[in-house]
Amino acid sequence: MAVFFEALSLLFDPFVLLVILASASGGIVLGAVPGLTATMGIVLLIPFIFYMDPIPGIAAIVSLTATAIFAGDIPGALLRIPGTPASAAYTDESYAMTKNGQVELALGISLVTASVGGMIGALLLLFLAPPLAKFAISFSSFEYFWLACLGLTASIIVTSDDRIKGFISLFIGVFIASIGIDPVTGMSRFTGGFEILLGGLGVVPVLVGLYAVSETIRGFGEAQTHKPPANFEIKNVFRGVGKTIFLYWRSFVQGNIIGSLLGALPGAGADIAAWIAYAVSKRFSKQKEKFGTGHPEGLVAAGASNNAAISSAYVPMMVFGIPGDSLTAIVIGIMFVKGLNPGPTIFLNDPGIVYAIIFSFFLANLLMLPLGYLAIRGARHLVRVPKNVMLPLVILFSAIAAFASSNMVFGISALFVMGVLGWIMEANKVPIAPAVLGMILAPMIEQNFLKSLMISRGSIAPFFDRPIAGVLAVVTIITLLLPLIGWIKRLYFTRQQNRMV
């Protein structure tokens, strides 16, 4: 208890609070501008952090990350530009809600679930860090392989209509990910001899191209582009949010659990967590058919899991000194510079500082509510801009984002090619979401599969006889076979009915 008070007294220092406020505000701006990322923001912060004490320095990173992840939902809902690969899981849903005139509800759900999800993740970090870390450390390449496969099956579940076209999209995404250098052997693949393709196409050009640029190409084709869109008023973003979250409380709880568990896995994180949370929510929903048409249930689950995963990513970092992602890798570096030793002894040697960092999560997620509200209110002017002016701006921002991600003009070319591909895909009812997830997860699948085979000397038995891997394998296979089982059942019952007639 004394440690908690020590942590609070370290945190509630005027300078620390000012730093948290400034970083949280910066995070909102960075996250809301397509193409700018939390990692970029932290890199900009590093020169300042070097001159700060550990608490304000790390609290700055925590605050910026927490708010930036939520703020990426704003362009996702308004312009169909996902701020992060994780928010791509529900960009279509939130954009559909916006088109249905429910922009306030979509953004309100994103804001509140992000804030509450982040705080729940921080609670788990506070009380369950050691057991969560033990769970995380038990994952080896076998478990990561099946986890990535489970993530891919989630992409098929989120595809509402044609499963065959869903698989086509998935394979296209995996193919895009395989362009460049093979991660295991270092050989070049599908580059056609062009050196520029050795680095692959990049996540940002593909993601933003498939979603945003394809949408703008389609928007140019509409007749009435000179009028502002109707039904777009953003006044009270909190109206109806509490009722909606209460109505879909199961999805909310699922999202938090999935985000907290998967966020703790190094290298997995918010990307997979959001997609799986969305897919699980759809799978167990009583209104499956409404997903993809602007239904808030998926948004509730995935929005919560996104920010819960951010908090729990600090679990392996703090308990074992293992970075969960690029952000926590930077945090580890800063902790070493400040004389802290992330790992098992940090809870013994510097408990006050550790708990102050955890409490800064609560503060950042609380601050997200007023700051996020102001950001959404500011963004409302975006929706009043006539489409024929907004569409070119979206393409320009997307091009700048693509360039910024790779520092090469090739990123812009890749963006436009992906935009045209996304336009063609959607015109032929081939969903984009599986392609995005395939692209994100393909490297994880391939690396872990080949690594596992090397460990097991070519045997596939360990893929099934390790306890966690076995469970994940069974869940994945059943999930993949479910559509087939459903089809066989329907066929059987139809034949039974025909016989009775």
Binding site: F167, I168, F175, D182, R189, P392, L396, I412, F416, W423
Partner: protein, 163 residues
């Protein structure tokens, strides 16, 4: 661009075959069983199966293969040909002229073409695109430090940078 399932299936099948052909040339290293061609080969087989299924499904549904390609949503809007040409020109030209002319020159041209595609008059398009470029330069290049190319204005970089 909307296609019948038969045409789409054919394209997917061809893509799958091309990927398989390319992947089969990626031999594994001597010390490992599965090489860089392993995952692409699986994708290729998947694409071939999906493409074939689409083709068969189209034939079963329609009684015969349906060959159709059309422009959805575009071909009934007024001036769609001009719109498509302006949009296509903008997307092709921008990556080509950006490294040569630089962000400050290429972007107004790019934006003007796009704004014109949205039926905004040329004078308004030029003014809007110039203002937008200046703002984007200030925010992204000067404040946030995104190193957009300067092109022919490389020697004037110091004068044109605000911060």
């Amino acid at each position: 661009m909307r296609m019948s399932d038969f045409v789409l299936g054919t394209l997917v099948l061809i893509l799958g075959c091309a990927i398989f052909a390319s992947a089969s040339e990626l031999a594994p290293a001597r010390h490992i069983k599965f090489g860089p061609g392993f995952l692409p080969s699986i994708i290729a087989v998947g694409l071939v199966l999906c493409g074939s299924t689409l083709m068969i499904r189209d034939v079963v549904t329609n009684g015969r293969p349906k060959f159709s390609i059309s422009l959805p949503d575009w071909d009934h809007t007024p001036g769609w040909t001009k719109k498509a040409l302006l949009l296509g020109a903008a997307l092709v030209i921008y990556p080509i002229i950006l490294p040569i002319a630089g962000f400050l020159i290429a972007t107004p041209i790019f934006l003007s073409l796009l704004l014109r595609a949205g039926a905004i008059t040329w004078p308004r398009a030029i003014v809007l695109s110039t203002i937008t470029t200046a703002l984007a330069q200030l925010v992204f290049v000067d404040v946030l430090g995104v190193p957009m190319p300067w092109g022919v204005l490389q020697n004037f970089q110091i004068i044109l940078t605000v911060f």
